[in-house]
Amino acid sequence: MNYEPEEMRPGQPKGEPDGDPHRRTSDGETPRSEPSNEKPESPEPNRTESEHFESPSDSRSESDESGVSERLEAEEGRDPDDEPENPKSNGGADDETKRRETENPERKDEPEEMKANSGSETPGSETPGSPGSETPGSPGSETPGSEVPRRLHPTSMLFEALKTARSWASAAAIPGIAALFGGGLSVWVIALVLIGVSVLLVVSAVWGFLSWRATSYWVSGGAFHLRSGVLQKNERTIPLDHVQSVDTVQGFIQRVIGSVSPLKVVEVRIETAGGAATETDASLSAVVRDDAASLRREVEGARREATGDEEGEEVGPTVLRRLTRRELLIAGATSGQIGAAAAIIGVGSQFFDDFIDNFFSRNFVEGIFETIAPYAFLAVMLIVFAVGLFAWFLAIAGTVVAYSGFVISRSADGKYLNIKRGLIRRYEATIPISRIQAVRVTEGLLRQPFGLAMLRVESAGYGGGTEDVGVSTTLFPLIPKGQIRAFLEETAPEFAVEPPLTPLPRRAARRYIFRAAAPWLVIFAVVGTFFFTSGLSAAIGPLFIGFINVPLPPTVYFAVPAAFVLLLAAFYGWAAYRAAGWAISEDCFVSRSRTLARTTAIAPRRRLQSRNMSRSPLQRRVRLATLRTRVASGTGGATFEVVDMESSSAREVIERLGPKGGESGGRESGVG
């Protein structure tokens, strides 16, 4: 399930199960070989186990129903004695577990109740005791300090189980579907699928339970400790002064749980700033909200005492702007991602082809084709239109999923911007304002006529660390042009400039138009040769019957589209010329260009990593030059360029953007 934020990388050594079938057997052996690990009271890890785990690499969204059923199974698996030795016992108590889940948010009592309710159990050597997160067991033998290990909330089993089920299911999905289509449905296939599904559910439930029982965390000795892993025990220690933030994330399931019961469970993510590759973040999949708050206080309190650190986490963040539902839909409708959506449809149509092949007789399909053939052109137009419409809806849906609930806020100390977005999976990004290198205002083709734009930022990392790479991310998905300056004033005041741009000299227009049209001239030369030398020119006429009823010379079929495309290209070149411009204002270099969307880049002088100007022989003849500036972005850089500006202005701009161009040069740029 997608409650993990996007930036969580696979490969975290959390002892999560993977899709390997061998796991199942080792799973069953665990309790026998390491009985001490099953006691919640003694989280003494057995480090002799040497199996290696990888977290599930795949994160696919899944339906609500499967979530519910797997949740039930996870509940079942909670009983410690219901080990894989007799997995069939999981069939029984579904209704009870469901009732319990919804009506009983009380954490402490659950294990006992579970025991009472669970269908068939071999009496174990001990009861799970009280592993609720508030009642810790006695500290492990090697745990110094006053702090005692705490358990995750038992719903964590559900998350672990879902994770397992998901990785298995996604591994099996494609071959499974292929088998279904290929072999057709027989009783045996259905039975096999059902058996597979139930085995999967049981195994994930058991695994969820085991990994919940193996996981504990505590704060002691100036460090946060996380112990986890079912087979391979894993203890992670994060010094508190390396902790950058303690974030709570409410994923989809956590929100569902919160909405059907008074139980407020969150995922807690502890992020480090060090950037050392060996030091990964810690993630606690289910913690009661109050506990999360106290853990956060504990970690941050201790850290401040220890280091006198000034960087406080958002105590009271100010919400700067929210994306309304109406804006969200407009953003989707104008996103211009129809191309991407069309590609998805293209892939999808492959499956559609297979589907048709399997379910309709060949004669039927051929009959349809023969009926359509005389109207091929019309039919193609219709299909293109339909696909376009579908792609458009897909683009809207994509935008809604990605940007739903977009909120940007500023931390209380004013140093960080925090962005939250996403419908199914809540994505969260924290950007240090001092690390923003440039802002891009993108006016998409469909947005520019309505005066709308999207804002992006380029930000830089400290360099070196895997965790702390900079990002190029959306600052706000849809904003009226008139409000951009005020919005930037609040978010990143350094970039809040809106100077009138200097247009390019008129003699640049010819170059822009030629550059846009030249590739098409070449293409049409090649295509034209092919068109007239092969038999295609003779064959093309009949295709248009039903659309054009007058016979036309074949040249028309080539010349008309070619002229149309060339005109379009020339117009595009003209539009790119019109859009291009530059300005220097308040120590910021502003440049604008157009690919399809018109993009304005704003980069302060002190953020520029280099400037360069380049002139081709033809440019030299008409005294034009291409100016490029580079800023740091992510792990590399981003380039902003003005093509064909006045050569003398380019020289002057380069000079003015240099270290001597203003009084405030220096190293404070933050990219060191």
């Binding site: 002139r615 081709s616 022989p617 580079r630 270290p659 040069g665 990219v671």
Partner: protein, 159 residues
């Protein structure tokens, strides 16, 4: 902006580039010859067509061995100013690049086997947005330039 940066690369750069282009020309000519052979004996293309690849390769090889090293060397200039590194290069497309010293994170000198044979070295300096290089300086000068950039960078740091 000054008309041109003041310093030139070491004159031996031309020789080094020539030799390395000779080395590159071998596979290029090989590919051209193969394409021509293929066009002639397998596709049986007319003379005008099958000679094209090998002639093209030959042209490029001659150009890159006898012409471009000199032109490139003539254009290449650099200057380490108190606050910036100023570079100029390019044969047809003349590119002028300025990198503020305050943005430079670290500096390297590198030399390959061929460069070592001629006592040359390349200075590479890195910013957060990528690397820039001054190629083919004589080794002592390269070391000097490297130290100069490093010292100036440090100075800026202390501001």
């Amino acid at each position: 902006m000054k008309f041109e940066p003041s310093e030139r690369l070491d004159p031996k750069a031309k020789t080094v580039w020539r030799i390395s282009n000779v080395i590159w020309a071998v596979p290029l000519l090989g590919a051209g010859a193969f394409a021509s052979w293929f066009a002639r004996s397998v596709v049986e293309a007319p003379l005008l067509v099958w000679t094209l690849p090998i002639l093209g390769a030959l042209f490029l090889a001659v150009l890159s061995i006898f012409v471009t090293p000199t032109l490139s060397w003539r254009r290449w200039r650099y200057e380490i100013r108190p606050d910036e590194v100023d570079l100029q290069r390019g044969i047809f497309w003349i590119t002028r690049t300025l990198v503020p010293l305050a943005r430079i994170q670290h500096v390297d000198t590198q030399n390959g086997p061929l460069q070592r044979r001629f006592g040359l070295s390349t200075v590479v300096f890195y910013t957060a947005a990528g690397a820039n290089r001054i190629p083919e300086l004589s080794a002592p000068i390269a070391a000097e330039v490297r130290d100069q950039i490093a010292a100036l960078t440090r100075e800026q740091d202390e501001l």
